[in-house]
Symmetry: T
């Protein structure tokens, strides 16, 4: 840890299975264009319901990455 500058971006990942997988999907997708991602914070957990079942988990995260 030294005098780095970090940028934070907000992403929403979705998954049919779990909150963790929704977060991982967002992180995986972001890793294609953002290098040096370091941490995330869960901002909001929502979901869609179909036929009385949770059809999709939608988790919004804030991701921090080094920009220098």
């Amino acid at each position: 840890m030294n005098e780095h500058v970090y940028k934070l971006v907000e992403l929403t990942g979705s998954s049919k299975n779990s909150i963790e997988e929704a977060v991982q999907n967002a992180v995986s997708h972001a890793s294609q264009t953002i290098r040096n991602m370091r941490w995330f914070q869960v901002i909001e957990t929502r979901g869609y319901i179909e036929d009385g079942k949770v059809a999709y988990w939608q988790v919004t995260i804030k991701v921090g990455f080094t920009v220098d």
Copy 2:
């Protein structure tokens, strides 16, 4: 999507196993009396502890459904 009106109700579901199952239990129970549930938002995640273990997950959600 058009000029629908939605109502939101707040429910707490519980589960011995996971956050996701607690949410699904609340949604399943509500589907017996509420039709057309469309989405939910997690409001609070709590739980009970027995003998140094998480005994129950209790997740409060806000569920939106079409009323027209």
Copy 3:
């Protein structure tokens, strides 16, 4: 339930696998020194990322226990 007094402490548990396991790790560790833990509330869910994958889940909880 009667006129008990409870104390609340804040803990952060971590896990490579899931949010639930991070909470359970914090509760298990606290149970070595705190008796009579009764409930918890999730305060914040964060995590660390390595190589484009969620490496650790870090969940902060507030735990209530009887002090009388």
Copy 4:
């Protein structure tokens, strides 16, 4: 004003035109089944975008009505 009891329900109204119309649509719809609505508070203002234009305003309100 005397020792009334009020109930509060949460509704989301939508409109193609304005925030005010989205609120009015929710109130109008609710007035078909709820009598004695007295006040509301705006909880959240969201919307959907199509072709670079705001297609729908979606406003969530909490409505208070006398239950006695």
Copy 5:
């Protein structure tokens, strides 16, 4: 405590005398139509003033009750 589902409703009670009585008035009124109320949380405390005196306390609570 087992895998119950709870519903939460928001009520505003009022009283000329105290915050506690305003809450009790809301709970008493709700008990006429809701069985199995279990807990409440105070959301907001407001009041009306007449002639430089607090004329009414108005306390909004969220009440949880078993629905199964």
Copy 6:
């Protein structure tokens, strides 16, 4: 109710006895200089402790009054 304009001021009242009396003390004092006070909202409840007892309740309220 018509197209009035209200001003809101924030006051902290204190009392040795109760939350209600602390609010009433703030309202009484304000009524010496402010006419037409209409409502208040409790913002924060604090207090001072002396010798293991609550010595003073300190309640901060926002008071609304007509300015036209």
Copy 7:
């Protein structure tokens, strides 16, 4: 912009027609006694309902003005 000091006051304006007009009514009224108002922030949007229609919009704003 230099080393000014600003004071902020909280006002509630009302209007039969719109949120914007309720804000403008509060600003207009305040301009009779406050000079150098510079900016505002919307704090809360509420309203009264009569006969199933929004009768009044009530918008609370915080207004900043130069005091030097």
Copy 8:
């Protein structure tokens, strides 16, 4: 709706006329460089005052768009 990933950006639009137009101005401008914008949420409503009149509405929104 399937396992999309969304990105959220925060924008402030301004307008001399209305809250809705300030939001639309932000959305229109963003549509020049961002494709597939899907929804927005109003974060904050502020404004500038000149000569006792609302000169500009400034509305900050969070916009979500598909990144895959």
Copy 9:
């Protein structure tokens, strides 16, 4: 007042009678082990309902005390 350091602990007191007594019960119990308690802040007011009556008030406070 000088360059003291304070520690804050969170406690939940309960009472069959009132919010004030629930706070006092928490303070009294804490005074058995904590010296030099100086102030508190009410964090949350909840309660349990039995047979349509408030059976217990549960008030969570943050208590500050000198540690030097």
Copy 10:
């Protein structure tokens, strides 16, 4: 400390140099017209940027003073 009533006002101070100086500037200016100021709380810290440098710190505080 006895049964005083306090009033709270919100001020924004600015400084080219530091957060502390911005607060002190607001307090100094207010001391010209308000006697008996006792405490403050920082509400918001903002600033203006010119040529890639922080040009002004703008700190909003809530100041409490005795009114009796």
Copy 11:
């Protein structure tokens, strides 16, 4: 001030010395790629501790800049 559109980005700057320097470091670094930065708001102040001393201040800011 006219009908501009602003974009807001979130950055975390760090410094061994002060909160102000951490903000300035974030602003300086951003100025290499973002033109027309106008204002910032402090979102969160954190830090790292080594050997009982604050080793790094980490301040997260939201920066607004003109995009038209």
Copy 12:
């Protein structure tokens, strides 16, 4: 970083000179009894005023330390 458990405690430090020094004073004092402190988060910044000057900065922080 591995599967550690952290405990968080809340402390208020004070200083006549600056926010940073108030934080450092709280950290220094805590280091006498708590080992392995790792990070802190600023929760609240307050202060006392004497003779129109900031007499004391009081900064409340949450400190995290390893407990295993």
